[in-house]
Symmetry: C2
C-alpha cells in the first residue's frame, strides 16, 4: 500500500496548490489557513455563483473562475478594503481536467493581478450544477469600513463606469435581444458579453471611498434595486436623473434602436459598479480621486429625506415606473 493521494487531494495538488503561494496557505496541505494579526480591521465577504444561475454552462472556465473571485473583490472595494486573500469552495459534478486546468489558470491570474492569494478551500462532489463559493477578505484601517448606511439628505449619488452592459451581454448570449443595431460593430457586442462574464471590480477605488463616501455598495443585482437597499439601510430616499445614469455607447445604440429600454438597463444585474453617496461639497474631490485611480464616475442625483422608494426621473422630471427593481433569487 502506498501513500497515493485520493482523487480529491490530487485535484487540489495539481490545480490549486500552484496558486497557494502565500505562507498562510501552508501549500494547501493543512486543514485551515492562518491570517497574521495586525493593526488593520479585516472585512470578510462571501458570494457564490451557480452554473445556469450566475453564469452559463458553456461560459469559458477561466471566465467563470474570474467572475467567482471578482464578485467578491467588488464587495471589498465598495467597503473600502484592500484585498488580502480568499478561500475557494468548489462543488463539481466530475473531475474534468480540461475545465479545471482553464479554471485554475484564470483564477491564478486574477489572484495575482488583484493581490488576493488563495489560502485554502474545500472541494466536494455534487450531482447538481457546479457551484463556486468564494470567501474573500481585505484590510482597512481600524473602524474605517464604508457601510450601506450613512447616506444623508443632500448627499450626491455617484456611480462608477456604466450601467446595464452586463445584462445586455447576458441577453445577447441567450438570444433574447435583437442586436441588429450592433451588426457592424462586433467589438461592441464582445464588450457587452465580456462585461457579463468578467466583471471589473473597482479595487483601486477603495481609498477614495474611505476618504469621501458616506455610504457605498456594489451594484450586483440591478442598479435600481441596489440603490433602494442603500436608501433603506440609510433611512433616506433619492431622486435620480435617468439622463445622467452612465450608459456605454454600445448600450445607447441598442436603446436608440428600440432593442431595449433604459429601465431594463437600470434593473438588470451583474454590473459590479460602485454606487456611493458623497457630501455635495466633496463631490469634485471624490471625482478627482476616482479619476486618479483610473475610474470614471457620474453624479446622477441626490439623496432626499423620506421613507419612499428612490424616484427615477425622466428629462421632464417625471418619475418613471419600474416593474422590476432588481434580481432576486426567491
Amino acid at each position: 500500500m502506498t501513500q497515493a493521494p485520493s482523487g480529491e487531494d490530487s485535484l487540489i495538488a495539481r490545480y490549486f496548490k500552484p496558486l497557494a503561494t502565500d505562507p498562510g496557505a501552508f501549500g494547501l496541505v493543512d486543514d485551515a489557513a492562518a491570517i497574521p494579526a495586525g493593526a488593520d480591521d479585516l472585512v470578510v465577504n462571501t458570494d457564490a455563483i451557480v452554473e445556469g444561475v450566475h453564469y452559463l454552462p458553456d461560459d469559458p472556465p477561466d471566465t467563470i473562475a474570474r467572475k467567482a473571485l471578482r464578485v467578491n473583490l467588488s464587495d471589498l472595494a465598495a467597503k473600502g478594503a484592500t484585498p488580502a486573500g480568499f478561500l475557494l469552495t468548489l462543488a463539481l459534478r466530475q473531475k474534468d481536467e480540461i475545465w479545471l486546468a482553464a479554471f485554475a489558470r484564470g483564477l491564478g491570474e486574477d489572484a495575482a493581478a488583484f493581490g488576493c492569494p488563495l489560502l485554502g478551500g474545500d472541494t466536494v462532489s455534487t450531482p447538481g450544477p457546479v457551484m463556486i463559493s468564494v470567501t474573500a477578505w481585505g484590510r482597512l484601517p481600524k473602524s474605517r469600513m464604508v457601510h450601506r448606511f450613512g447616506a444623508r439628505p443632500g448627499d450626491r449619488v455617484v456611480v462608477t463606469g456604466a450601467i446595464g452592459d452586463a445584462t445586455l451581454g447576458l441577453r445577447i448570449l441567450t438570444g433574447k435581444i435583437d442586436t441588429t443595431a450592433l451588426a457592424h460593430d462586433p467589438a461592441a457586442r464582445d464588450m457587452l458579453i465580456g462585461r457579463y462574464r468578467v466583471p471589473q471590480p473597482r479595487s483601486t477605488l477603495a481609498t477614495a471611498l474611505r476618504d469621501y463616501a458616506t455610504a457605498s455598495m456594489d451594484v450586483s443585482d440591478g442598479f435600481a434595486g441596489d440603490l433602494t437597499k442603500l436608501c433603506a439601510a440609510s433611512h433616506v430616499s433619492a431622486d435620480i436623473q435617468l439622463s445622467q445614469v452612465p450608459i456605454s455607447s454600445a448600450a445607447s445604440k441598442l436603446v436608440a434602436a428600440g432593442a431595449v429600454q433604459l429601465k431594463t438597463l437600470i434593473s438588470g444585474g451583474d454590473d459590479y459598479e460602485i454606487l456611493c453617496t458623497v457630501p455635495a461639497a466633496q463631490c469634485d474631490a471624490y471625482r478627482a480621486a476616482a479619476n486618479s485611480a483610473g475610474i470614471a464616475v457620474a453624479d446622477i442625483g441626490a439623496i432626499v429625506e423620506g421613507p419612499q422608494a428612490p424616484r427615477f426621473l425622466d428629462a421632464q422630471g417625471r418619475p418613471v415606473s419600474l416593474q422590476r427593481l432588481s434580481y432576486s433569487h426567491f
Copy 2:
C-alpha cells in the same frame, strides 16, 4: 412603489438576522462583515455539505444546520483555535419556510453554544441539491496554529472519543447494515444515528492541542486515510494497534455480531474526532489536559520513520490490509 424587500432579503431578515447579533455583522444589512484587529492570529477554514452527499435529504433541518457549522468548528479545534465567527452560504431550490425556520433555529442554538456568531453570508437559488457552505474563523496566539506537519518518530498517536460510530449511523439510516445485535438497545441505535447527523466538535481541546501536540487534524474522511495524510504531511509513518482504537460499545456489539468489520469503522467518514501526535514523555500530561476539558483520549500507536503508509496491526502484530482508506469525492 414601496421599499418592499425582495424574497431573498426577506428570507435573510426573517431567519438569519436574529442570529447576527455580533456588532461586526451590522445586522446583515451590509455587504460584508468586519473583524476587529487584534494581537491574535486568525485561523480560517471552509467546508461545504451537499444534500445527498454529506447528509440525507430527509435529515431534520436543524441537524443539517448544526452539521454544516460543526464540521468547520471541528477543524478550528484541531488547529488549536477558539471559534470567533462564521459566514454562511446557502444554495436552495426553493424558499421552504418550515425547513428554513428549523434550520435557522438549529444554527442559532449552535452559534450561541459554541460562541461562534453568524457575521454574514450569501443566499442563492440552485436547481440542484441544497448546498451549505460555511467559512469559520477562530483566534489563537500568534504563530501557534497546530499543523498537519510536525509529527516526529517516537511521538504517540492519540485520538479522541470513538471511531466509526458515524459511518454506522449512516449505514443504519440507509438500511445497509444488519442491526439485529442492537434490537434490544434502541438508545444505541439512536446514538449512532446522532453521531452521523450531529458531530461533536472537540472545541474545548484547543488549548491542550496547542500545548502538547506536534501535529493535529480532525478525522472527517475516515481515520485510516486521515492518518495517512497527517503522516504524508509530516514525512513520517505510523504503527497503529487496532485493538487500541477506541470503539463505542454499540459499535463493538455490531462488530462482535459480524454485522460490520473493524476495518470498515476505521475507513468510514464523519467521525469529527481529533487525531494528534504527542511526544511520548508528554502523553500523560496531554491526556490529563484533555480529560480536564471533558474529552477522553486513547493512545493507539507510534509515529515511526519511513515513507511507507501507516500500518494497522492486529493483536498478533500482523498488518491488516485495507481496501479503502477513506472517502474521496473524486
